[in-house]
């Protein structure tokens, strides 16, 4: 199959406008006859389901959590980007587009990214209308802050809980549609298969996680809004339940997987403290607005951080990247931290950490406050006290979270941080209409591969999830469903439903019948270690080849020795987890194959063989300026298809933040 991205012709600025005014529409009476299934209720899923419900489609939503409001978008901290230029600092749609394409190391589609930047401003308007309580200035207008990889202030936020507030906004809109009868909501349900009839996605098999029963649901279209797959690494900032299952089932039924190896390692997370660790906690990128990152200048320096004098500290980001300083993009900041720790400058018990220090911000803000209060000769203590107050107002909940986890007070002692898996830029390949290579099957938000290239900029995930759900799919779905108005709902006793359900049932029975000796958790941990060591922040050919063999062996062992307690027809979280880990064990192999294929370094994908003299990522545009879209051909067999990337407007250069 040749990949057709369906990017509209015409100038960058006119593509989306032209599409919107020429796409096919579905009249209200027909919308009432069309059923849409939405998997996942995070920002992408909740916003899509609410918007489609408002338009009159019959929608069903599914989430594995006990309520749609708990989807992991809720945990996004720092903010959401939008090209509003409220700060009068030179922002524009073009600049957001440009920053995103450059930040993604020139591996994203120009057309998609421009559309994203275009609708970004509408998102903020929509959310404010819903009552999302963004931070405001005293004049009553919205406040902004900076995020990495940009030189303007375009990030809107609600303290360190922006994802929560945006999701609650979308959730409320969704619940309103549930109340109006336009959306039916299925919580504690997991999609375990997609049903394809005459080449089109026409429904799903879902498992009721409370009773264990399998259910068949028909839809004229299926939207996967099921998030990313960072949990393949076991330790990540994802929620415990975040998984690839819905996307992977779709992949095995014909949806190509785009750039699976593109993983984002976030530079500022609380470091691993021991083998018991079940997940990692992010410390928002917004902390790099005011915090300064450093390590001691001396290797293996065991002094307490506050005992190390200023001149013996290496603020390595400010030293290496004076133009962007502590606000370089995530991939760059993460690699720089790893470089310092690998070279023996790491801090803390594990030596796998660097400092994020607020002392100078507290002093700077304290002086400003003292000035405001007219205190001419404020004492150092008074300045510190005032400064702490300002920092608390801006980042209080994050500081509190840090203290709960580590038992250390970050107002007094610099935080220790280290990079951790956070987001996956890769995902199901979609065209401009967000449709996968299976007609009728769409992917939105983090589940698709589309807009972030090889590295996502901070505060852009929330933007993309809501752009896809509120402003893109309402148009593109109609354009396709307009051809389906004569298709009657297909009864779920259709042989395709029966066969799909049998497939799911057989697999569950097989899993339960293994009755081995090792827990699901243990297999997941072992997979995570292989992935982190060999397909993590730095990758090389030898390691990736080893990883592929190790994963195959581990998968074999899993299918012969996993122990799942309990029964099928009951609430059984171990069985739920086994279903997910079985899919991670297949995905991990594909990620390594993709990383092995891409003989270059770009964004979050760092192949040690391809770096500049000073350790920066070295792209190979002549050979790899394409999206790798993988087709499933059977166990361990994947065929790669290329979508060449064409840059009409931006000219790819060596990315520099110096």
């Amino acid at each position: 199959m040749t990949l057709n991205s369906k990017i509209p012709s015409g100038s960058l600025e006119s593509k989306w406008k032209t599409y919107k005014s020429t796409c096919k529409l579905v009249n209200p009476a027909n919308k009432r006859q069309l059923e849409v299934i939405v998997i996942g209720t995070g920002l992408a899923g909740a916003s899509a389901a609410a918007s489609l419900g408002e338009m009159g489609y019959k929608v069903k939503t599914f989430c594995f959590q006990d309520s749609p409001r708990r989807a992991h978008s809720i945990a996004a901290q720092g903010g959401i980007n939008a090209a509003k230029n409220y700060q009068n600092d030179g922002d524009s749609t073009y600049r957001l587009f440009y920053d995103t394409v450059k930040g993604g190391d020139y591996r994203a589609r120009e057309g998609n990214v421009y559309r994203l930047a275009e609708v970004s401003a509408n998102i903020i308007d929509q959310c404010v209308a819903q009552g999302v309580p963004f931070a405001r200035e005293y004049g009553g207008l919205l406040s902004n802050r900076s995020f990495g990889g940009t030189q303007v202030q375009r990030t809107f936020y609600a303290a360190g809980q922006t994802g929560q507030q945006l999701l609650i906004g979308a959730y409320q809109a969704l619940e309103r549609q549930v109340a109006l009868g336009n959306v039916k909501q299925y919580s504690r349900h997991e999609m375990l298969e997609v049903v394809i009839i005459d080449g089109k996605a026409r429904g799903i098999i879902a498992r009721n996680l409370v009773t264990g029963e399998l259910e068949r649901h028909f839809g004229h279209a299926v939207l996967l809004c099921s998030g990313g797959y960072g949990n393949v690494f076991y330790l990540s900032t994802n929620a415990m339940g975040s998984n690839v299952t819905a996307a992977w089932k779709a992949h095995k039924k014909g949806a190509y997987f785009g750039n699976p190896c593109f993983t984002q390692i976030h530079p500022t997370c609380i470091p691993v403290s021991g083998d018991h660790q079940s997940k990692l906690t992010l410390m928002s990128e917004s902390l790099r607005n005011d915090g300064r990152i450093w390590v001691p200048k001396k290797q293996g320096d065991n002094r307490k951080p506050n005992d190390i004098p200023e001149e013996e500290r290496d603020y390595y980001l400010e030293r290496r990247y004076p133009a962007f300083g502590n606000l370089v993009p995530r991939d760059v900041a993460s690699r720089a931290a790893k470089e310092r720790c690998d070279a023996g400058y790491g801090v803390g018990a594990s030596k796998q950490a660097v400092y994020l220090d607020y002392a100078s911000a507290i002093e700077r803000y304290g002086k400003v406050e003292a000035n405001k209060l007219g205190l001419e000769n404020a004492s150092a203590e008074k300045i510190t006290e005032l400064g702490k107050g300002v920092v608390e107002a801006k980042y209080g909940n994050l500081f509190e979270m840090y203290e709960k986890i580590t038992g250390e007070n970050p107002y007094e002692v610099p935080m220790r941080i280290y990079p951790a898996v956070h987001y996956t830029m890769g995902g199901l390949w979609v065209d401009y209409e967000l449709q996968t290579t299976v007609p009728g099957l769409y992917a939105l938000g983090e589940a698709n591969f589309s807009d972030h290239g090889a590295n996502r900029l901070g505060a852009s995930a929330l933007m993309q999830g809501l752009a896809d759900g509120y402003f893109v799919i309402p148009y593109t779905l109609g354009n396709n469903l307009a051809d389906d108005i004569r298709t009657k709902a297909i009864p779920t006793d259709h042989p395709a439903f029966v066969a799909a359900e049998k497939e799911v049932n057989d697999r569950i029975n097989k899993l339960m019948s293994i009755k081995g000796t090792e827990s699901v958790e243990s297999f997941h941990k072992r997979l995570g270690k292989i992935m982190w060591d060999k397909c993590g922040m730095a990758r090389n050919e030898k390691g990736l080849r080893e990883a592929i063999e190790e994963i195959k062996a581990l998968r074999k062992e899993f299918w012969s020795n996993v122990r799942i307690p309990g029964d099928i027809n009951e609430f059984n979280p171990e069985l739920d987890k086994a279903n997910r880990v079985a899919d991670f064990l297949e995905l991990g192999e594909l990620m390594c194959m993709d990383a092995l294929n891409r003989n270059e370094s770009c964004g979050g994908h760092f192949r040690e063989e391809y770096q500049t003299e000073d350790g920066e990522a070295m792209r190979q545009d002549d050979n790899y300026m394409y999206v790798a879209a993988w087709e499933y051909k059977g166990e361990s067999q994947f065929e790669m298809h290329k979508e060449e990337l064409v840059y009409d407007v931006v000219h790819p250069t060596q990315r520099s933040y110096k």
Binding site: P133, V210, K279, F571, P573
Partner: protein
């Protein structure tokens, strides 16, 4: 911070399903690190149970960073355990010492039926929101975000109320199993903003009607909800809800009664 290890006795509520009567079971866990979170200690216990061929304990959890609201353990008589402004997932084992006994139950309320062990059904909260916890605005109708200036104080108060994570600790802590703190947080969030004004009277009336219908108890101003709320949602929200409700009653307002 000094790290140490401890052995503990756990008395945990086991209940096969909603029809089972349920009982406490006693477990011993050894060599627990003070750096673990409370749920990581449960992970250790569950791995131990699986290795012994026994059934692990079911509990709700997801983000493990205090924001999704899934975790819901009632620990030694307190919702989410002893730490102030903390969810179960953020409680860490440095709170405990070697030899301690810890009793863990589900969040108990008639409106939160037990699904299994420590897992309860909190869908009643979704239905309270469905009754009116939103602003009726369709996608695509919004004016420019800065066309609606909002007094910073009100915006901050609305945010503080909207920080509710819907975990249900307020219900578990309340002797009446009232969900008034949860309901009032949503009523306050939207009543404090000009965007929420048009539906102000119907919203509060409809949400309270649903609250009562779900079987939550009435509020008698005890304040246990505020004390146990992991997000510090203030009792002032309940006072505001009462004022809103009075005003709504005078104006005779409920969408359903019109």
């Amino acid at each position: 911070m000094e790290h140490y290890h401890m052995n503990l006795t756990l008395k945990v509520w086991k209940q096969k399903n909603k029809n089972d009567k349920g009982r406490f079971e006693t477990y011993e866990v050894k060599n627990i690190s003070s750096e673990m979170s409370f749920l990581e200690m449960f992970d250790v216990l569950n791995e131990q149970l699986i290795a012994e061929g026994k059934e692990p304990i079911a509990f709700d959890h997801d983000c493990r960073e205090g924001i999704c609201g899934a975790c819901s353990m009632y620990i030694n008589g307190r919702a989410h355990g002893p730490w102030h402004h903390t969810t179960t997932c953020q409680l860490h084992m440095r709170e405990y010492k070697d030899g301690d006994t810890i009793v863990v139950e589900p969040f108990r309320a008639n409106a939160f039926p037990v699904i299994k062990d420590l897992v309860v059904d909190r869908t009643a909260f979704d239905r309270i929101i469905q009754a009116g916890g939103y602003i009726s605005v369709n996608t695509g109708n919004a004016v420019d975000a800065n066309a609606i200036p909002i007094d910073k104080h009100n915006a901050d108060e609305a945010f503080a109320a909207a920080a509710c994570i819907g975990c249900g600790a307020c219900v578990a802590a309340c002797p009446n199993a009232s969900a008034m703190l949860f309901t009032s947080a949503k009523v306050s969030h939207l009543a404090l903003l000009p965007q929420g004004e048009p539906e102000r009277t119907t919203r509060v009336a409809d949400m309270i009607r649903q609250h009562d219908k779900e079987g939550f108890g009435g509020c008698t101003n005890i304040g246990a909800c505020e004390a146990e709320c992991p997000k510090g949602i203030s009792l002032e929200n309940i006072a505001r809800l009462n004022r809103e409700y009075m005003a709504a009653t005078f104006r005779g307002g409920s969408k359903n009664s019109i």
